[in-house]
Symmetry: C2
Subunit: 472 residues, 2 copies
């Protein structure tokens, strides 16, 4: 059979797959320097300015991949990667995502991919059960779950839905004045995506109240209650509150139940951001602390692409009442109308987020959950928390270091007793080790070294070496 130059035969594709396999498995090996040594502009300067007119052999591209691109990679999957949060790409998820690519699905509608739609519904239900999330998020009732690309998109979608619930939809239809007086709430330690969403959705960044936190960096619920009450009395409209389960800075877990009480007094939407820590709810002994109060949340999100290994991007969002989100996000142009949608018997996930098109992300969750199994993923979380405990114990034995906040799960915030300069020296020394990567944050104005244990590859030897490194 003759082929056009833009087509690939199955045999050719199979040969290409075999050809890239050595490079792929090299990426999964464990001996890499986490930070890139590249200077700004270094990679760009090595890439030709003009696009290629004619086809080049894959071998040439792979050579450039090694010589030009590889030095610019940051090894988020290195065993000594303790920076920011893990962004694990488990080989099972990589495989599932490859299968998804080959299917070329576009899951905007049930009709455009029943498989993408219904596997997603089941995967969200599997994860709801595996994390011990409440029944009201279950599909089939008034709730349900959906995959968003990132938690940032999820919090924006929920804030829009909340805004519309408070204004009976006027914020979406009328905009402008209809958004006037709407107020959102989150703690000073909440993720920057809440602030970004408030700016995007017409509530306004100035109308996000960043509530102070207590000595454990958890949202101060008395301050929240007071602020919300003041807003209500001033004629403002509390409409959205984000509680964080595992803050980015130090992993603090806001008291969701108490926050739910306060939100309930004002009919204010309660969103729970468990982007990082949510994965730990796979572990029964960690679950209660992470999910308490979630039965009174309007929405709850976590990122399987972080700790759980689902490979960026994949963020899960559950709603207690999906109707608000759907009302805000629905569009129904004639060119997308179809009998399945009209029947009301199917889910069209395009109505659950900002985007229209959607990738078949459920497939990588399916392959990961089945080939690895929930119990094994829970064991991984336990092991990582155990590693963090070892580091915590070590820090407690080093007189120059102290924990700047209570350890949460596998996240530690460490500072030097002599102050910020000494902490910065520690951070720099660790990052220059060529084996470990850490980042920083500030707590009460003081610099701290964040140590987020959690890559797939981290092991006892790496943890021992890290402890030795912070000791010297």
């Amino acid at each position: 059979m003759s082929r056009h130059a833009w087509q690939r035969s199955p045999e050719e594709f199979a040969a290409h797959l075999a050809q890239v396999t050595p490079w792929l498995i090299e990426q999964l090996q464990d001996d890499r320097q986490p930070w890139s040594p590249c200077a700004p502009g270094e990679i760009l300067a090595k890439l030709p300015e003009q696009p290629p007119s004619s086809p080049e052999p894959l071998s040439t591209v792979l050579e450039d991949l090694q010589s030009i691109i590889e030095p610019g990679l940051v090894r988020w999957n290195a065993p000594g990667w303790f920076a920011w949060f893990p962004s694990n790409a488990h080989p099972d998820a990589i495989l599932g995502d490859l299968l998804a690519s080959a299917t070329a699905q576009q899951g905007m509608l049930w009709a455009s991919s029943p498989a993408c739609t219904e596997l997603e519904t089941r995967m969200l239900e599997w994860l709801r059960i595996a994390l011990g999330l409440p029944e009201n998020f279950r599909e089939g009732g008034s709730g349900g779950g959906v995959i968003q690309d990132t938690a940032s998109s999820g919090v924006l979608a929920c804030m829009v839905a909340a805004r519309d619930r408070t204004t009976a939809g006027l914020a979406t239809s009328k905009g402008g004045d209809a958004c006037g007086g709407l107020i959102a709430y989150a703690s000073e330690q909440s993720h920057s995506s809440v602030l970004k969403a408030a700016g995007i959705c017409g509530i306004g960044r100035d109308n996000l109240r960043l509530i102070p936190t207590d000595e454990a960096y958890q949202l101060d619920t008395e301050a929240l209650a007071r602020t919300m009450e003041q807003d209500a009395q001033a004629g403002n409209r509390p409409c959205f509150c984000c509680a964080t389960v595992g803050t980015t800075g130090c992993g603090a877990i806001d008291p969701v139940g108490r926050i739910a009480d306060i939100c309930g007094d004002h009919n204010c939407w309660l969103h729970v951001d468990a982007a990082w820590a949510g994965t730990a709810a796979l572990v029964p002994e960690f679950r209660t602390a992470l999910t308490a109060g979630s039965d009174r949340a309007d929405s709850w999100s976590f990122n399987p692409h972080k700790w759980m290994g689902a490979a960026f991007d994949c963020s899960c969002l559950w709603l207690a009442d999906r109707s608000h989100l759907i009302a805000s996000m629905s569009i129904d142009p004639e060119y997308l109308s179809n009998s399945a949608s009209r029947s009301g018997d199917v889910i069209d996930y395009r109505d659950w987020h900002v985007q229209l098109g959607r990738r078949f992300r459920a497939l990588k969750l399916w392959v990961l959950l089945r080939c690895t199994g929930v119990d094994v993923l829970a064991d991984m979380v336990r092991a990582h928390v155990g590693f963090a405990q070892q580091i915590e114990n070590a820090v407690e034995g080093i007189s120059e270091l102290l924990l700047a906040a209570p350890r949460t799960l596998s996240l530690l915030c460490i500072r030097h007793t002599e102050g910020d300069d000494a902490t910065q020296d520690l951070i720099d020394r660790i990052n220059q080790s060529d084996r470990f990567a850490v980042t920083h944050c500030r707590l009460d104005g003081r610099l701290v070294m964040r140590v987020a244990v959690g890559t797939l590859a981290v092991d006892q030897e790496t943890v021992d070496a890290f402890i030795a490194a912070i000791r010297t």
Copy 2:
């Protein structure tokens, strides 16, 4: 070396890759029924309700993939797929995306992946050159390009930037009243994402003026000028206008240059949505019609994941002045601060879109553009347009059928002379053929069959068979 149960050895991953290869290449074969035969709930019912506790062998998952998931796939890559628009996953792009998965990059910051950042900058520049887009979108000046997940996210980001340009940032900081009187514009044939974005960003859906179109379904510029002028005189603030280059319904190309004149009179942001048709600008003889006036647009977007084969998701967006977008989307929490960002010498693409995290999408563009080459992709577009011309010629020879709008590139709108019922019968008959998929739209209230030629696999034999099918 001992491994934990959640880890995979490189050898195991290589074996898994080899194991899935037969299924992958089967997906690239050409004899599949495009639409899924599944009924609502059929797939869901076959998937166990409880998540798997223990690991299962990949072979079991692959069996279920074939028996449960495959029937629910819609074959967007079938040769006879003429529905909606193509969503091509070229094998080179699939390969590039697999490489990206293995690198586990998270490109929110330059510092979090210099390779992801700088390859993206170069790929956007390659595509800008390949499409013949103007110099003011070039990186290095005041403009620049960025990959968004979808055109929906891109238009939202631009609308927010436009809103903030008009309000000097007050829409983002103050929200509510600061968005009062802001008006957006697009034609009645514009994509639903414009309406969705207006609802999300606080402008309000009611404040999107859907301007009538002329007999070729192009935006009526006199009506636009009149409406914008009326708004300005009424004290409203025209802030965003979307011109469509290749509408979803029938492929109409709005007169961008004339629209730019009108926008210029009111300092209104001009966004060009070329999501589908943009790929055809790879072809020099089609380019002028697609890019005329773009040198006066504020933003311009197209989706390589549609016609060009970059595999969903990958949408490119260029800005003439990136500062507005960055001002609207920037957040700068301490935990993400780093010396590279502070230096001002690098791009942090998190500030160019709604999301924070970002996948290494540039890699699939790189592999696709190099292994296939720009000239070959242009040849593909030429061939597809040629196929559509053949269908057009055939329709002109069938007395019961007529073109409901002028053909644009490879998109045809066909209706039956006897009216909607007969057109619906035609659509149903084509879709029940097990070989072809078409969708519909309405033009001037009348039902039409949309035929969007453009999958990688479409060939002369398929086109001949389709012509035979519409003849009978």
